[in-house]
């Protein structure tokens, strides 16, 4: 402590003063001019609530939303990984046509705002896909069954399954561009000498990729992929614009129903922060540990 205090220099005090003024002003204006009535006590019941009808505890709006966000992130993360790996390999392909196709897809996704991409994909692709596969009827069929707990665990409310699917598809398509770039960078970061060595012991291009390049690229690619996964969780909030029932959307609903604007948004921001920051800490620690080994 003594040590710590000794290290503090005068600009530190200035910073502290500025911060105190800033937050003090916020506090004063909420309490004074705005007349806002805080109702923090209601927030916990919107995370886990006591159902007055069913007489049991249940996951209320915010927790439902968080669960949906987690589900969507995991599923679209997996899908994006698959698509992105294909895309990344295609970007390094020897065939010009394949390279150009991959490049076109990628440039489109990277140069158009996510909001626009989400709307385009939603109206053009996922709705058509869901109709074509007749997912809605199928999902409703399951929702009507008695024992659908397992389905519900993995996919949430089955009646909303199509919206989950379109959310997952839209997000995965969107993120696959970034995953593709990471995979490509990983492949290209393998020194030329490695490929030459592989070739000079007679390996074919496939063998070279399979036994020499990809195993090494995978290792390099894991940390940026982990970061991309965190970005994906954050980007998933955009899905609220196409009414996918994830955390941000549920918060909008909560605000519309209860008018707890400040409390609800601060809580939601805190949820995202805890999830994303927690994950980034965990990933950093894992990375450090694997480095040591």
């Amino acid at each position: 402590m003594q040590e710590f205090l000794r290290k503090i220099r005068w600009p530190d005090y200035v910073i502290v003063a500025v911060l105190i003024t800033f937050f003090g002003y916020i506090w004063l204006s909420i309490e004074g001019t705005l007349n806002y009535k805080w109702r923090w006590e209601l927030i916990p019941s919107y995370i886990v609530g006591w159902h007055s009808g069913r007489e049991e505890y249940f996951a209320n709006l915010l927790l439902q939303g968080l669960a949906a966000t987690v589900r969507i992130s995991i599923y679209s993360g997996i899908l994006a990984l698959i698509l992105g790996t294909i895309l990344g390999i295609a970007r390094c392909s020897a065939n010009l046509t394949i390279r150009m196709l991959a490049r076109t897809y990628l440039e489109f996704l990277r140069n158009v705002p996510p909001v626009v991409v989400v709307f385009i994909f939603f109206f053009f692709l996922s709705q058509q896909l869901i109709d074509a596969l007749n997912l809605e009827r199928w999902a409703r069929g399951i929702a009507r069954q008695e024992n659908n707990q397992i389905w519900t665990f993995f996919f949430g409310e089955m009646r909303r399954f199509p919206s989950l699917v379109s959310g997952v598809i839209v997000l995965a398509l969107f993120e696959s561009a970034f995953v593709g770039e990471i995979v490509r960078a990983g492949i290209q970061s393998i020194p030329k000498g490695q490929r030459e060595a592989a070739r000079s012991i007679g390996m074919s291009r496939m063998q070279e990729l399979r036994y020499v390049v990809l195993p090494q690229a995978m290792k390099k690619v894991v940390p940026p992929l982990a970061n991309q996964f965190i970005s994906l969780i954050k980007d998933s909030s955009i899905l609220s614009l196409i009414s996918v029932q994830e955390l941000t959307y549920k918060t909008v609903e909560l605000v519309a129903s209860s008018r707890m604007i400040f409390e609800a948004w601060i809580t939601t921001a805190a949820f995202y922060f805890v999830v994303c920051f927690g994950l980034s800490r965990i990933f950093a620690r894992l990375e450090k540990r694997s480095e040591k080994r």
């Binding site: 020194p191 000498g193 490695q194 030459e196 060595a197 592989a198 070739r199 000079s200 012991i201 007679g202 390996m203 074919s204 291009r205 063998q207 036994y211 020499v212 195993p215 090494q216 290792k219």
Partner: protein, 248 residues
């Protein structure tokens, strides 16, 4: 010196990088069991030449015949060629994600499709030959440069190649480790392997070379037996170069 069958025949070979003329009208023959040492100033095309020998680079015109097979740019055939021609790089280029043993076994197993036990036996055999049998289970990063380069040599040997190419195998090594690699190469030369070595280690060249080649600016300036090369090189440029190298 009797002349056994030629292993590498280069006739009139030219090579461009874009518009840059990297190899100019190269003629060279390497016979079975012959040891050729190539030297010359930086950028003179030494690496480019031996990289042509196992198809890492493509010549633009002229003929290149390896072990009786003419080399064209065709993926499948060239792969077969590479199984005959081993290459040791300046930067070792071991596979960092595999142990030493796996580095040695992956080629024979995946390319030559021999069984794991057999591959392991060969691998251990060659590890013995390069004097590091005890390092089999380490990863390349855990070895010194000299040890890594010996593993790289063993990896090439495991493919049971008939020709070995070395591209400055000791120039990335600390002075203390150069010897251990050169020793292994001398031993290898004694087994009768056909070797083409790019190096500036003139002590080694004196010891093993049958033929010395001096390149400059993409051309072969001098081909001569080592006795003549070191005592009385025919070109002035070559003499200057040797002076530079041997002075310190």
């Amino acid at each position: 010196m009797t002349q056994p069958s030629p292993m590498i025949e280069v006739t009139n070979l030219d090579k461009y990088y874009g518009t840059f003329h990297a190899l100019k009208n190269i003629d060279l023959t390497v016979h079975q069991g012959e040891k050729v040492v190539i030297c010359g100033p930086s950028g003179s095309g030494k690496s480019t030449l031996i990289r042509c020998f196992n198809g890492l680079e493509w010549h633009n015109s002229g003929r290149l015949v390896i072990d009786g097979i003419e080399v064209y740019k065709d993926a499948k055939e060239i792969r077969e060629l590479r199984q005959e021609v081993g290459m040791v790089f300046q930067q070792f280029n071991l596979f960092p994600h595999l142990t030493v043993l796996e580095n040695l076994m992956i080629g024979p197993m995946k390319v030559r499709k021999i069984t794991k036990t057999q591959a392991e036996e060969t691998a251990r055999n060659y590890l013995d030959r390069v004097h590091i049998p005890e390092q089999a289970d380490k990863y390349p990063a855990q070895l010194s440069g000299g040890q890594q380069q010996r593993v790289a040599i063993a990896r090439s040997l495991c493919m049971e190649t008939r020709i070995m190419l070395f591209d400055e195998p000791t120039s990335a090594l600390d002075p203390e480790m150069i010897n251990e690699v050169l020793d292994v190469m001398v031993e290898l030369a004694d087994t009768g392997m056909t070797m083409v070595v790019v190096t500036h280690e003139m002590g080694f060249a004196r010891k093993v070379a049958d033929t010395m080649v001096f390149m400059e600016a993409g051309q072969i300036v001098e081909i001569s037996p080592p006795e003549q090369f070191f005592t009385n090189p025919s070109s002035e440029r070559c003499r200057l170069f040797l002076n530079q190298i041997l002075e310190h």
